[in-house]
């Protein structure tokens, strides 16, 4: 094992695939010699050259459209959208093109492409650079949506994403780019649709995604002191979703809290809650608690942003309603 940051793990996964397969290339704004706005692509440009680590004009729709056309004609592009929020500019390409072409074209076209989306808040980046838009993406049949919470998961899931024959929206929480964690020396692909239990427990299931996994673990530590053993389940991929692991945990604990960083209204957390209510209602001892950001744009000033975004305290308060 070695220690890596979340950002380094993502870079390492791209490096592995680029060494392995000439067809893999990176497209995005300032991803080249500049190394990416967050420094994520780093030295990949000097390692692989201009042809394979390509700076694009500021044209998100063209970046994603170009990735689609390239994927349809034999390449394996990784498109970086500098801030996940800017995916709105490329939404037609992602929703009406990438997600639907295989289906509409009779299943005779493959789109092995990844769109990397640095999302999430906590950096005082305000309302256009801090959003969690995963519900928009999971809503669209034809997209796979991945959201890792740790360096090891990020690396393993990205290897899988690059090899996948379908368009993958790969959400990265930019607030945990510096988070360190153990990563295997020999990084292996992590299959999609396999949730990870980040902490075992018997009293309540906390389903959390992205950075909220860490807030949930923090809350679980506190709860443990109060004699409540929470089980923290990280789906890791939002679609495909590992319902089995989630349901097995709920059947064991009979209590559920779902926490995502999205605005609560219309969030994917609601979908997970609804699945549980619809399919295993009889196992529940209490209503499902759902935690998300407040339903406002994300404000700039740190005190306001902290107020709007969910954190471990909100999770604790939510859990306490059930005990």
């Amino acid at each position: 094992m070695k220690t890596m940051t979340y950002m380094e793990a993502i870079r390492e996964a791209m490096r592995i695939k680029m060494k392995e397969d000439e067809k893999v290339l990176i497209l995005g704004e300032d991803v080249g010699a500049f190394g990416g706005c967050f420094g994520l692509t780093g030295t990949l440009h000097s390692e692989f050259g201009e042809k394979r680590v390509r700076d694009t004009p500021i044209s998100e729709g063209a970046i994603v459209g170009c990735a689609i056309g390239a994927a349809a004609t034999g390449l394996k592009p990784i498109a970086e959208i500098m801030m996940g929020d800017f995916v709105t500019v490329a939404m037609d390409m992602l929703v009406n093109q990438a997600a639907k072409l295989r289906y509409m074209f009779g299943g005779k076209i493959s789109l092995p492409m990844v769109v990397r989306l640095p999302g999430g808040g906590g950096l005082s980046a305000a309302a256009q650079h801090s959003q969690s838009l995963e519900a928009w993406l999971t809503h669209v049949p034809g997209l796979k949506v991945v959201y890792p919470s740790t360096p090891a998961d990020a690396a393993g899931l990205l290897l899988t994403a690059i090899e996948d024959d379908n368009p993958v929206a790969f959400i990265e929480h930019k607030g945990i780019y510096g988070l360190k964690g153990e990563v295997p020396d020999d990084i292996k692909p992590i299959p999609f649709g396999v949730a990870d239990i980040k902490k075992e427990g018997k009293d309540i299931t906390i389903i959390a995604t992205g950075k909220m996994v860490h807030e949930a673990l923090k809350a679980a530590e506190q709860l443990s002191k109060d004699g409540i053993e929470a089980e923290v389940v990280d789906p890791r991929t939002l679609f495909p979703l590992d319902k089995e692991t989630i349901f097995n945990s709920v059947k064991k604990t009979s209590k559920v809290l779902v926490v995502t960083e999205e605005n609560k209204r219309g969030g994917y957390g609601g979908e997970i809650s609804a699945m549980i209510s619809e399919e295993i209602f009889d196992y529940l001892d209490a209503p499902i608690i759902r935690i998300g950001a407040l339903n406002t744009p994300i404000p700039f000033s740190p005190c306001l942003e902290n107020f709007v975004l969910p954190d471990s305290k909100d999770i604790l308060n939510g859990v306490k309603k059930l005990f």
Binding site: P57, A72, N166
Partner: protein, 331 residues
């Protein structure tokens, strides 16, 4: 058409004539089938614009790519699409190109480099970028033709893609079918320019304007632009002035089109013009021309019979191919 002396063999001229006829007759049959309610949904016909797809695609081979539009039948026929699978798709049948999941606006054939008709105006521009990049990246001399209408150049995608293609010198030819209308809006109402090719100036992309109803003029301009693309010199805009003889979609009576305008353009219809040239230059005799026409009629008839006799798709088909490896759940 007179006076143009091109280095095109008679065989190629006849092939181009066959392609134009195939498109016209395919569209006429689709028009009738749509009016009779045998084709579900909406279709957008290419009648009057056949010389564009034909003249351009006569320069291509199966390894080259095209992106198309909602008015895509002509492009697909000209790029070698199978008439039976096309017609079956229009009829919503299981044997159609898309197994009945796409319809008129989503026919594609990757084996022929056809990256699909498209229901979003201007989407093809961005997809073409990727095909062009891929051709360049793999070190091939393949090109991608991006077909689009005048009105789609008001979309941001046109500008983004022209810019990126120019910066990267991608092997793309942007073929504008300026048919005078964006749905019901005449060109002078939807953009304050006459020549779309002028828009290339902003991106250092050369633009040429040709008579889009003259298949030789289109062929020649496309030939030059395609050679330029294959040589790594980057994209070109080829603007073909033509006319949409039908409404935007079948069912649109086109009352916004002045009668005199329609009549003037029908007089310039690309097919009779081409026939006149072929006969006058002895490329085909009248008898031979009739035989060609009869042969195309047979091919279209076979396509319709194939579509008519094909089964409806099994409902299971609706759940397949959303992903390569995940089948969606039924109700």
């Amino acid at each position: 058409m007179e006076g143009i002396i091109l280095n095109i063999s008679n065989t190629k001229v006849i092939d181009m004539y066959k392609t134009m006829l195939k498109i016209r007759k395919f569209e006429e049959v689709a028009m009738n089938a749509s009016a009779e309610g045998r084709i579900p949904g909406f279709i957008h016909l290419y009648i009057g614009e056949e010389a564009v797809a034909t003249g351009v695609c006569a320069n291509l081979n199966d390894k080259d790519y095209i992106t198309s539009t909602h008015r895509g039948h002509g492009h697909i026929v000209a790029k070698g699409g199978n008439l039976k699978f096309m017609m079956a798709e229009l009829f919503g049948k299981a044997t159609g190109y898309c197994k009945g999941r796409g319809g008129s606006m989503h026919i594609a054939d990757a084996t022929k480099g056809i990256l699909g008709a498209n229901g979003i105006v201007g989407a093809g521009h961005n997809l073409a970028l990727g095909a062009g990049l891929s051709a360049q990246y793999r070190g091939t001399d393949e090109v991608c033709i991006c077909f689009f209408g005048d009105a789609s150049t008001n979309q941001g995608t046109f500008h983004e893609s022209l810019n990126m293609a120019s910066v990267w010198k991608l092997p793309i030819v942007f073929v504008c079918e300026n048919n005078g209308y964006g749905i019901s809006m005449s060109q002078n109402r939807h953009q304050a320019i006459k020549d779309v090719a002028d828009r290339g100036v902003s991106y250092n992309v050369p633009g040429v304007v040709v008579d889009g109803n003259d298949v030789f003029a289109v062929y020649e301009a496309a030939d030059e632009a395609i050679k330029r693309a294959r040589e790594g010199k980057g994209p070109t805009i080829v603007e073909c002035k033509t006319y949409r003889q039908r409404g935007h979609f079948e069912g649109d009576p086109g009352t916004y089109k002045p009668k005199e305008e329609q009549e003037a353009w029908v007089k310039k219809d690309p097919i009779p013009r081409f026939e006149k040239y072929i006969l006058e230059n002895g490329i085909l005799s009248e008898k031979e021309m009739k035989e060609v026409q009869a042969d195309i009629d047979d091919q279209i008839k076979e396509a319709v019979e194939f579509a008519d006799n094909s089964p409806q798709p099994e409902l299971e088909i609706a759940l397949q191919d959303v992903y390569s490896d995940i089948k969606e759940e039924g109700r």
